[in-house]
Amino acid sequence: MSKATLALTGNPNAGKTTLFNALTGARQHVGNYPGVTVERKEGDYKKDGFEAVIIDLPGTYSLTAYSEEEVVARNFIADEKPAVVINIIDAANLERNLYLTCQLLELKIPLVVALNMVDVAKDRGMDIDVEKLALFLGVPVLPIVARSGQGVDDLMRSARDMVAGRIAPPDMVKLKISYGEDIDQTLLLMTDMIREKNLLNKKYPSRWIAVKIVENDEILIKEVVAADPDLAERLLREAEKVADHLLKTFDTYPEALIADHRYGFIKGILKRGIITHHYDENRLYTSDHIDKVLTHRFAGPLIMLAILFSIYQITFSLSALPVSGVEAVFNWLAGMVDSILTDGPLKSMLISGVINGVGGVLGFVPLIMLMFFCIAILEDSGYLARVAFMMDRIFRIFGLHGSSVMAFIVSGGIAGGCAVPGVMATRTLRSPKERMATLLTVPFMNCGAKLPILALLIGAFFAQHQALYMFAFTLLSWIVALLAAKVLRMTVLRGAPTPFVMELPPYRFPTFKGLMIHTWERSWQYIKKAGTVILLISIVLWAMMTYPGLSPEKRDAFVKERARVEVLHESGSEALEKLLLEIDNQEKALTLRNSIAGKIGVAMEKVTWLSGFEWRTNIALLGGFAAKEVVVSTLGTAYSMGETDPESSTSLGDRLARDAAWSPLVALSALLFMMFYAPCFVTVVCIAQEAGSWNWALFSVFYSTIFAFILSTGVYQIGRIFGF
């Protein structure tokens, strides 16, 4: 049997990702749907000779055209016609979850319902008659507990039977939802018109098209207009007629009436002995009692701050040991290369370009993994939704949405995210203006790639208060991003707000497997970047910093100088060694200054002296446009080149602290510039893609760089006046 395609669909928080992880384990790949940046998750399933590709469709509450996610889910089902769609529903939230199921049934697709969290429902005193539910829906319903894997094998057997044609797809003759006399008659009329012309009949059922037109679904209407403009006009006229009538007689909209009837239909089914409550439905559960504290007027925000702050403490203290371990490994590697190879361009490239460059980045992997792990706990436990709930009033002040908080946090609102997925997380925002404002300001957050620079400079200059400084810089990034959003929403992005309505899911203990997959996925993205883009850039930068090298005359001058001091001092004496070392360092410094990068850096000093940056910092910041973590590796390369002994154990931080061109004030100015200047080019590409135009991406590059320069110059100059 060839591999069947199964699609997973369901409400957010219904346990879809947990089921997906249980079915596919580590055999997953993440990509994007063409044209949009909604994540496309795909995995392989194999058991008892049944092989399938499982697509994890984005979580949706409905199949209207409310968000990109809903459109993606709908199009996937209609266009790719998966062999079976598995609809996962939350047993403890049956009524709302069945709303999506109804719409899937109307699409007349092969459907299997996975009734998840039957254990939770039982604890809540709910009895669900699964067989009866299956009978009324006309599709198989399988009770499962995705977290423990209970019932999952039965579910897959049922899916397999449906693929093999042993179970018939839903019979819609038996199941037709009535939308009230007025709408039903219009639907009947429209369905006949659609059927007569075979309108989009390969993609959708005729009645479904009619329902969507009456519901005023803009995307589907566009599709219909494109397929048959004449018929579309006649259909729209019918829809308008019934809409006018409903408004006049009932003071309501067709879409409202349709939703009412769908819920009515669900209620009708559930009332026929499918669900029995043993307790009051709205009684409070453990999760609600936790919420009384965690979203409490006074305690809530304080606990939130405490939780966020403790994440820094945990990640920094726990990661210290593994970070120095990784560093030691790369130092050892550099030493090995140094002793094996003879001096020359290859050795220089391997040590300065490859090992220092990649090692500098990989050294921070343990820290980043810990950070991602903590974020995954907040996400999977349901706490992040509470953060959005508590933060919305504040975000709205800045013209953003409570959901913007996700994009900000993913980008590094809790330091250590990445602006690339952050920019992509803005997809959940519906209003183009709030989305654009979020898109253009999330790169200000402290992403995982900025962490190495923060850690380096804070460690070198403000070592006594590391955690405090980290926290302060994170708060600062929030303030700057929010103010920038407000300014954008008042100028280039003026407009009305988007609906907030969202769910506060019950708190759940995250599963270990889920946390690991989450953490690994994100860390792997970071490591991959280190192995590919950063390695390449590190080598290019090494070349830029090495070539063209000194002219023969200048090199001769150094040779003569060496000969001169050798005559003056006794050979092997300490004084001579010291002099020779100084000459070597001077030659290397001059070589770098004479290189391509050096020339650019020196030229830039004409402007950057205002914020206290010398040419080496300029080179590093230039490299940072390629990827922020390159700033560290470039500084490493730039400084290790001026040193004689690559085996020296002094870290880059110590070297900077000893350097005359650096001071705490310069470090502060550099930190501010680095935090707020142009996003890395990967982010810029994503912004261009999300915003749908390169103009916005270029705008992002220029406005942030200019802002960062003004800020760091201001701080540096004022600091100098006060004598720092």
Binding site: S62, E255, H296
Partner: protein, 78 residues
């Protein structure tokens, strides 16, 4: 029996939705989340800054902003 806007309901007050007077994206979203005529709700609480409001619906929790709650009419017992 009295009908008031959801915004003006007090904490722990119960009621039944009688109308959702808004079309377009906001109306669709509100209805997709299960806030339709005849639904019983209870105010669970409000965010630290009094907005958004969290409400209990069929044993689960939804939140919405006060200015969105304005469109929802609720019948309450007195």
């Amino acid at each position: 029996m009295k009908t008031i806007s959801l915004r003006h309901m007090a904490k722990n007050q119960r009621g039944t939705i009688t109308a959702v007077k808004v079309a377009g994206d906001l109306g669709r979203r509100i209805r997709d989340m299960g806030l339709v005529n005849g639904t019983e709700i209870m105010i669970q609480g409000r965010a630290p800054l009094n907005d958004p409001v969290a409400l209990r619906i069929r044993g689960n929790t939804l939140t919405l902003r006060n200015n969105e709650a304005d469109y929802i009419e609720v019948e309450i017992d007195e």
